[in-house]
Symmetry: C2
Subunit: 226 residues, 2 copies
């Protein structure tokens, strides 16, 4: 039991070191030696958990969304905004997330990781948009598959610009502005009037998630749909 716990902790330390190295140097330039010296573990320990650089990167990608989603909302468009804003909030604070984003993008990455987390992220967005549309939150012309692609791509563009131009200091305001620019084209006016797309939405939802359910938090933060 203690041995298993130690193994879990070692695996996590290796993945965190790998994420930091991939985030700083990119997949091609990163070496297992870099990751070893960052993690402070033996070569044997690393190879016990991961047999190659590619497996390490896959581990980082798998870990990316392992923490679970935001609280469910009656409005699925609000839930989508919450996911986008919480990710922006966490992206600034967790190398595991930003490394995942870097591993998912760029030429060559498709061949190695099949687009990384991008196809899953688009599909997740599409599913929420389909439900939002069924509930009457979206305008009739909206094609959930197309809009899911666009929302995901624009989120990523804002993330990359914010990283390139300001070291992500403004990522939350920028992601909010993306949604503020797109939601009026896809949501009904009644939905728009109830949508919370403020720049601090990610921070507030993250606090709600830390408090956990059962303290009225979900109800309090959830925008009423009807």
């Amino acid at each position: 039991m203690a041995r298993q716990e130690r193994a879990v902790r070692t695996r996590r330390a290796i993945l965190e070191a790998a994420a930091a190295v991939f985030d700083e140097r990119g997949y091609d330039a990163a070496t297992i030696a870099d990751i070893l010296s960052r993690a402070g573990v033996t070569k044997g320990a690393l190879y016990f958990h991961f047999s190659s650089k590619q497996e390490l990167a896959q581990g980082v990608l798998d870990e990316q969304f392992a923490e679970g989603g935001v609280p469910h909302r009656e409005s699925k468009l609000q839930e989508l905004v919450d996911v986008a804003m919480v990710l922006a909030y966490r992206m600034k604070r967790e190398p595991m997330l930003s490394a995942g984003a870097r591993l998912s993008l760029g030429p060559g990455m498709r061949d190695i990781f099949g687009g990384g987390s991008v196809p899953g992220w688009i599909e997740f967005t599409r599913t929420l948009l389909v439900r939002a549309k069924e509930q009457g939150e979206l305008l009739p012309h909206v094609d959930p598959a197309e809009t899911a692609w666009i929302l995901s791509a624009c989120w990523t563009g804002a993330q990359i610009y914010s990283q390139t131009l300001s070291d992500r200091s403004d990522i939350e305001e920028r992601v909010a502005a993306v949604y503020q620019h797109i939601c009026p084209s896809i949501a009904t006016p009644a939905m728009l009037a109830r949508l919370d797309i403020a720049g601090d939405r990610g921070e507030r939802v993250s606090a709600e998630m830390r408090r956990g359910p059962g303290r009225g938090a979900t109800q309090e933060a959830e925008p009423a749909l009807s």
Copy 2:
């Protein structure tokens, strides 16, 4: 004269080879040896024009937009759409452009190239939006600086997703969809009704540019604003 012409041609060949190598491998992984063997020139010829890998990359970045802009339009929002769509059209066909995009983005690139072409691209967009707003094409709440940032970032996000997921085969439809999702939030209804954001807009404007002015092309393609 002949010698100078040869020098210009050699410089161009080196830049094209550099663009192809940066586009495929990224800045960090690219080597001058790769570029030399791709360009088929001597080491002496290369170092006569460029003293370092960084100078080569800067040369690619400078070349990116050297071809000049799209035809002027009475509607500045249409002109902006045209620039975005022509870039999408050319990005699929010219390594110089896609290499420039790759060099402009990502961690570390800011320190080396000051964000590459990104700040200039945002500022160019802002200038057109300011004029569009002065002409009454935009809704009163639009902040040209913020919207310029968002439009540029979303363009880039669509470019990267298209490259990662489909080798840029759908880049024109995706960039058009970005504008179709954002313009209703920023343009007046009368402007929207006149805006041409079809997926083949870039191809049509490029053909117009090849035909050149003086054949009625500009008038024909320009959407009337009043």
